[in-house]
């Protein structure tokens, strides 16, 4: 059995950073090859090189044993290489068919596009691999999982034989993940070769036969997956022993930091999103909010932080009613907020790292004088936080946030919020899309915050995360708190039942 793809000694540099440093990856025909590495290790860069989005400074790429030069994605397509990007490349207002044939439209009479012909071919493919999608719906009407299927169909329609998946499961629900892995297995049965970028170790164990690990831009090792345990893979990726279970002391809750009373909120079209939500967070404890996405978590965060102010009920911080306070007043009175969506709320992507670190404090005495920003203080703070939180950025404080990897972006937000030493830290999905090393780090920081006598409210869709670090768990279901449990007295199964709404307290 030969190799479908050989990437030999690839080096790719960006200003200030060597994203890929002499990396070699060989993909055997008809197999699934995992590419494992921390956030910012250079996995996406390597695959972008293969797909022709970047040109490597050094190195050779071979397809079916022949040396090739992939100068742009069209060449990659001709070589039958397809890629599903982390952020889908679909035209939202086009239908599924239109998206699939985009760029390779079958010509009919008078230069019209022959959609009939296309449809036949697509149906044939989708039946073969179990990729059922409604072909005449618009992309904007599809779920994320269905959109991903469209991306896969797009590759197959172009008769790709080598498929690259860039963190395909990051955006999917557990059921959708199962389906996707099944599809991937089908694809290899038909002789396709697959590279999957991921840092979810369980998935690698489940489907990949080989795994190449890269760390800080360097290829570390290619291993046979069957011979390694999840723990060994994780240690290889991070470069040291990592623990999945964060060590923590017994919580010592003291006075109430946050109290919400009877929150009720409707969305724009009048649907009730929060119903009579009341709870407390004490200093020195982490309260986890568990629930399936869309059961009121976002609304709850918005109400507490002030991003939304049309709701009934009360928000009380340290005994003071702050229900109607502005966002700035809330920030100053001691609320830290790690937002759910770091690109939408957490960062000004076009600002530099150091500017992002002063987003809420630029006007304070520490960073300004008579309306002028004290640039030296701003740089000092960013140097300090880069060091303390191990934020990796090519040009340090002057790095544009957009060019940083997701994990480092998240770390910067966390650094910013922790630096302000808030009494209450609201952490919404703090580890979404991060690798185990970064997750471990963030969990430790959250526990440190707790142990320094602050209150932490953790909102997460990852049940493991909630069970791992919170002291109490509240379960949100359809906008109501349906259960309040001590973490040590409960388990995944019990919480799962509450989350699904099949049990009520």
């Amino acid at each position: 059995m030969g190799y479908a793809i050989e990437m030999l000694n690839i080096t790719k540099e960006f200003p200030g950073i060597k994203a890929n440093d002499d990396i070699t990856l060989k993909l055997k025909k008809g197999t699934i090859h995992a590419l494992l590495g921390e956030n910012g290790a250079g996995k996406s860069t390597l695959m972008s090189v293969l797909f022709g989005l970047y040109q490597p400074e050094k190195g050779v790429i071979k397809v079916d044993g022949k040396e090739v030069k992939i100068s742009n994605p069209n060449v990659a397509t001709e070589l039958k290489i397809g890629m599903v990007h982390q952020h889908f490349k679909l035209v939202e207002c086009f239908t599924v068919i239109e998206n699939i044939v985009l760029g390779v439209e079958p010509k009919g009479k008078f230069g019209k596009t022959d959609y009939k012909k296309a449809e036949e071919k697509i149906i044939e493919i989708s039946e073969k691999y179990g990729l059922a999608v409604e072909l005449h719906k618009k992309i904007s009407e599809l779920t994320v999982g269905a959109q991903q299927k469209v991306e896969i169909l797009k590759m197959l329609y172009r008769e790709a034989t080598t498929l690259i998946f860039d963190e395909p499961t990051a955006v999917l629900t557990p059921q959708e993940i199962k389906g996707l892995l099944e599809v991937m297995r089908n694809l290899t049965c038909e002789g396709k070769s697959i590279v999957i970028i991921t840092h979810k170790l369980d998935e690698i164990k489940e489907i990949a036969s080989e795994c190449t690990i890269i760390r800080k831009g360097k290829g570390i090792e290619t291993v046979n997956v069957a011979e390694k345990t999840v723990q060994e893979l994780a240690d290889l990726m991070v470069g040291r022993a990592v623990s999945f279970k964060t060590e923590k002391q017994e919580a010592d809750p003291k006075e109430v930091v946050l109290r919400v009373e009877k929150l009720n909120m409707k969305n724009k079209i009048g649907v009730e999103k929060l119903k009579n939500v009341s709870f407390e967070v004490r200093s020195g404890e982490i309260v986890g909010i568990a629930g399936i996405e869309g059961n009121g978590q976002t609304e709850l965060i918005n109400a507490i932080t002030g991003l939304e102010n049309k709701f009934d009920g009360k928000v009380i911080l340290n005994g003071k009613d702050i229900t109607k306070s502005s966002i700035r007043e809330k920030t100053l009175s001691g609320i830290g907020h790690i937002p759910e969506d770091r690109h939408k709320h957490g960062l000004v992507l076009d600002y530099t790292l150091e500017e992002n670190l002063i987003l809420q404090t630029y006007f304070t005495e520490e960073f300004s004088k008579n309306g002028f920003i004290k640039k030296s203080k701003v740089s000092e703070q960013s140097d300090e936080l880069i060091k303390r939180f191990d934020i990796r950025a090519g040009k340090e404080g002057k790095t544009i946030a957009r060019s940083m990897s997701g994990g480092n972006q998240q770390k910067s937000i966390i650094a910013r919020e922790m630096k302000r030493e808030p009494n209450l830290l609201l952490a919404a999905q703090p580890t979404r899309g991060l690798d185990v090393g970064a997750i471990e780090f963030i969990h430790k920081e959250l526990l440190k915050t707790r142990d320094s006598g602050k209150g932490v409210l953790l909102i997460s869709l990852e049940l493991d995360e909630i069970l791992n670090i919170s002291d109490r768990v509240l379960v949100l279901f359809e906008g109501s708190v349906v259960a309040e449990l001590e973490t040590k007295n409960t388990n995944k199964e019990e919480i799962g039942l509450y989350m699904a709404g099949s049990r009520k307290e």
Binding site: E57, K344, H345, V348, G371
Partner: protein, 356 residues
């Protein structure tokens, strides 16, 4: 050569390419490219070495309002807005300057200064409405801006007719000499060129917006709102207020441009047309990469070419229209300097590869 230096030299290279193409065009149509370009280059600065500053004065005079409309558009761009209404704001500001110049009695020097400041205020107020509608109802500022340009033309026409009618129906009354931004000490140096104190207004305005955008907390907020409204809101900034401020400051700069033009470059308002200088400001801003220093140079280039173009048209038999085309080509090329930048970057990568 590094990527940074490519960024710096690519505008220069693109201007040179534009010049070459313009030259070729002249040859192709059958005119004497050499003499044409000689006059084009000389027109903007001729005599500067012999102490005759008339022509450079003309160039700077042409440059003055462009500096300000360029600054106006750039300030809006930098804060996430597209001020296509600079023309209307400029006209309205200019009207207020002319009105003050004619009707208010103040000592010389003070009078034009007051008129200029009030023109800025008027432009700022004129920018309020698009800003407010954008902030409050998310109506796109381009739509409102275009409409407001028309409103400005007819509003000014109406106000001129009832307040300061001129000798002819198509123009306003002329301002008295004391109200003009043309100062005798400047005119003496530049031998009667229309260069006026508005030039300094422009330079000061560029410095001020540089300071606001790069150094102050106010600019930090304005830019943050422009880049990402959601993150600005999350950070506790007042998003709507900042949008309105941005548009008003942008309008204020355009209003100042109106003053430098209507009580500086000329001394009255021509009715019925919207000044194209506001639209030229878009090109000036883009060519200057929306930075105050860049705008200084790009507005100079515009002024220099405008002035040189007139000289070329009057000194050779090359028709005015062809001159305009040549200038347009040069500007066009300079505006797409990012294409050149991309090309040079590719070349750089290639060279590096082969070098190693």
């Amino acid at each position: 050569m590094s990527e940074d230096s490519i960024k710096r030299i690519s505008p220069l290279i693109s201007i040179i390419l534009g010049l070459l193409l313009g030259y070729l065009l002249l040859l192709l149509v059958g005119y004497d490219g050499n003499s044409g370009f000689k006059y084009l280059f000389q027109g903007g600065i001729k005599g500067i070495t012999e102490g005759k500053y008339r022509r450079i004065g003309d160039t700077l005079a042409q440059m003055t309002p462009l500096m300000l409309t360029g600054a106006s558009v750039a300030f809006a761009f930098r804060t996430g807005l597209f001020n296509i209404g600079a023309s209307g704001q400029m006209l309205f500001g200019g009207f207020v300057a002319v009105l003050v110049g004619i009707t208010v009695d103040l000592p010389p020097v003070i009078l034009p200064l007051v008129a200029t400041l009030l023109a800025g205020v008027a432009g700022g107020l004129y920018g309020f409405l698009p800003g407010y509608l954008k902030a409050k109802y998310n109506i796109h500022e381009v739509v409102i801006g275009i409409m407001m340009n028309y409103v400005s033309v007819y509003l000014v026409q109406y106000l001129v007719k009832i307040l300061i009618p001129g000798k002819y129906v198509i123009e306003s009354a002329h301002i008295p000499k004391e109200a003009s931004l043309k100062m005798s000490f400047i005119s003496n140096i530049f031998r009667g060129s229309p260069l006026n104190a508005g030039f300094f207004v422009g330079v000061i305005a560029l410095i001020v917006i540089y300071v606001i955008l790069e150094k102050t907390t106010f600019g930090f907020e304005l830019k943050a709102v422009g880049f990402n409204k959601d993150a600005a809101k999350y950070s506790g900034m007042k998003v709507n207020k900042n949008i309105i401020y941005s548009m008003m400051i942008s309008g204020c700069l355009a209003g100042l441009a109106g003053a430098t033009f209507y009580i500086g470059y000329t001394n009255h308002i021509k009715l019925g047309t919207v000044p194209t200088l506001g639209f030229d400001g878009i090109a000036v801003s883009l060519l200057g990469k929306n930075s105050p220093i860049g705008i200084f140079f790009s507005s100079f280039l515009f002024g220099y070419l405008k002035n040189g173009g007139s000289f070329m048209a009057s000194s050779t038999d090359i028709p005015r229209e062809l001159v305009d085309i040549v200038i347009a080509i040069i500007i066009y090329f300079s505006a797409i300097s990012f294409v050149i930048e991309k090309f040079l970057n590719k070349l750089l990568v290639k060279m590096k590869k082969e070098g190693k």
